[in-house]
């Protein structure tokens, strides 16, 4: 039996609070959870003791029975400058609901992603937000049975076990491509990634939008999707090889600013006249795109809004909603000197 003498430096538990307030531990628990059946007098006593003792409930202990008020965010990687705005939006909603977000990085590798999702489940987090996971739809669904889940950057409107929030990537790609076409260009390539993952990735959706726009303009026979290798040290076509094509493309739509910025640099270094000889449009409207020395046209996908919606959706899922929700956020074309 622990006697109630408050040890200096010892951890304050619910028992100490109960004793200090002269009530039962159940009463303290109820007050904390705003549960039914607490008199005002009791509530006040307990809250005073909580303040006086600077009591903070142990999330770990809490997790064994109830909620932890923490949610996990699994990021595909850390280097995409699109992520901070996403987190801004999510954090705002979550902190207002008294939740804390904890992020982990999956490094775009399925094994790591699995182990991290498991870790979040094992920590008894109340829900997870996955950003552009590499896992298959089936696997996601099976995890979603164990923990409320919303997925960003994964187009699977048929999924029922989890929710999704996405930029309308197909529309964004159409806007970008149509803009290049409107400039009088016909030889327009798209820079994309190897098609090695599922069919739900964002760049796949962007390819569809590119092809649609080309087709609508009667340029279906000019469609060209350039799949560059993902890592510089691997084999496969390089991004810069696009500039060696004969004839050189008049326009390139890049699935991501990360690559668009690099392509733009390479082009200017080679003395290519941008946008007259070569126009470039990217995706994400990354900070670098806005630098005057870069001046990259890009699709703004409104990351803050996406993050906000994802958090809202997750909270309602945690709250008990069972019907799936699949949200598309309308993107916007931001024009700069590269096109």
């Amino acid at each position: 039996m622990t006697d109630g003498s408050a040890k200096i430096g010892g951890k304050i538990t619910i028992k100490h609070v109960a004793q200090d307030a002269g009530v039962s531990v159940a009463a303290v628990s109820k007050v904390m959870r705003n549960a039914y059946g607490v008199s005002d007098a009791m509530r006040e006593k307990v809250e005073r003791s909580i303040d006086r003792l600077a009591y903070r409930p142990s999330t770990a202990a809490r997790g064994m029975r109830g909620r932890t008020f923490s949610i996990g965010v699994l990021l595909v990687e850390m280097r995409n400058p699109f992520l901070p705005s996403l987190m801004d939006g999510a954090q705002k909603v979550l902190s207002e609901a008294n939740y804390r977000a904890f992020m982990s990085v999956g490094e775009a590798r399925a094994a790591i992603e699995k182990s991290l999702i498991n870790a979040m489940i094992d920590l008894k987090m109340d829900g997870v937000i996955l950003v552009a996971p590499r896992l298959s739809g089936e696997l996601l669904a099976s995890y979603a049975k164990q923990i409320p889940m919303v997925v960003i950057g994964h187009h699977e409107p048929g999924a029922t076990a989890f929710d999704t929030v996405n930029s309308d990537d197909r529309l964004g790609a159409r806007m970008a491509t149509a803009h290049l076409i409107a400039g009088g260009r016909e030889n327009i390539q798209m820079a994309s990634l190897p098609r090695k993952n599922g069919d739900f990735d964002v760049y796949v959706e962007r390819e569809k939008g590119y092809i649609e726009a080309m087709t609508e303009a009667g340029l279906e026979n000019r469609v060209g999707v350039w799949r560059m290798r993902e890592h510089p040290d691997r084999a496969g076509p390089r991004l810069a090889d696009l500039l060696d094509l004969d004839p050189m493309p008049q326009g390139v739509f890049c699935w991501s600013d990360i690559h668009a910025v690099r392509l733009l640099n390479e082009a200017k270094v080679r003395g290519i006249d941008v946008p007259n000889q070569l126009a470039i449009v990217g995706y994400d409207n990354t900070p670098a795109a806005g630098l005057p020395l870069i001046g990259l046209s890009s699709i703004e996908q409104r990351g803050t809004e996406i993050g906000r919606l994802a958090a809202d959706t997750l909270l309602s899922r945690i709250g008990g909603r069972a019907t799936p929700q699949h949200i598309l956020v309308e993107p916007e074309l931001v024009l700069r000197s590269s096109s």
Copy 2:
């Protein structure tokens, strides 16, 4: 141990494993923790059951008595491109030691930082890494009594309750400044931040290095530290105002690439000849600095190494080390066209 090979089912607990293996729960616990006093036969039986049932121990339950094998990383903010390399280094060490890292963002606000550190303590994380926190040294020390802690981007070599790992910011600033001086320049300013926080922040240390280098070159009367406002929407001097000084500086050492890149852009947009009229050196050797269109000279602080050392230090602190450790990592000057 198990990285979660996607076996989904009802909740498998230690009891199920014990039953399946025909041993006691204590035995299972011991096997998992590599504790002393398990026969090879028993170990094998238990491990087979663990595999067969795809058992994963509940971190939450574990946290009530022992370790959670998860560590918290508190980031000032998410937008500094220096952070990913830091995390790369830390993750590598941590994952090899079977730990998982969970990040949270303090938004450079003390109240948020405090609440997040508390949340990490309440989740029973085994340790925390703080990156450039805004909290005072005393506050950090008081938290360090509750949880093993190492701090990055905080120069307090006298701290005893926690460890620190830093770039040798003073040296880096000296190198940058000396380089500008070596180019024959005398009117060299430093772009820094308002001196509103503690004396432990990195930019304070960088200011010292700048002043030292100027003094050594006999330019102590030319020292000028330009403190720009932190947020664009606040009042106070703007970064770009540096270019309106009369006479315009011949060189600027920026405490961070984030600002250096912006200054470089502004200068080139104004038609200023860089580096002949104005040379610029930044800090962090951010990816943007390396873009040909930018070409910013910068101090590489070797983030991966810092992250690695921080994780190592934290693990040894968790392991019981009580003597404080304060590590400085030697930076490197990377020259490009801006200087």
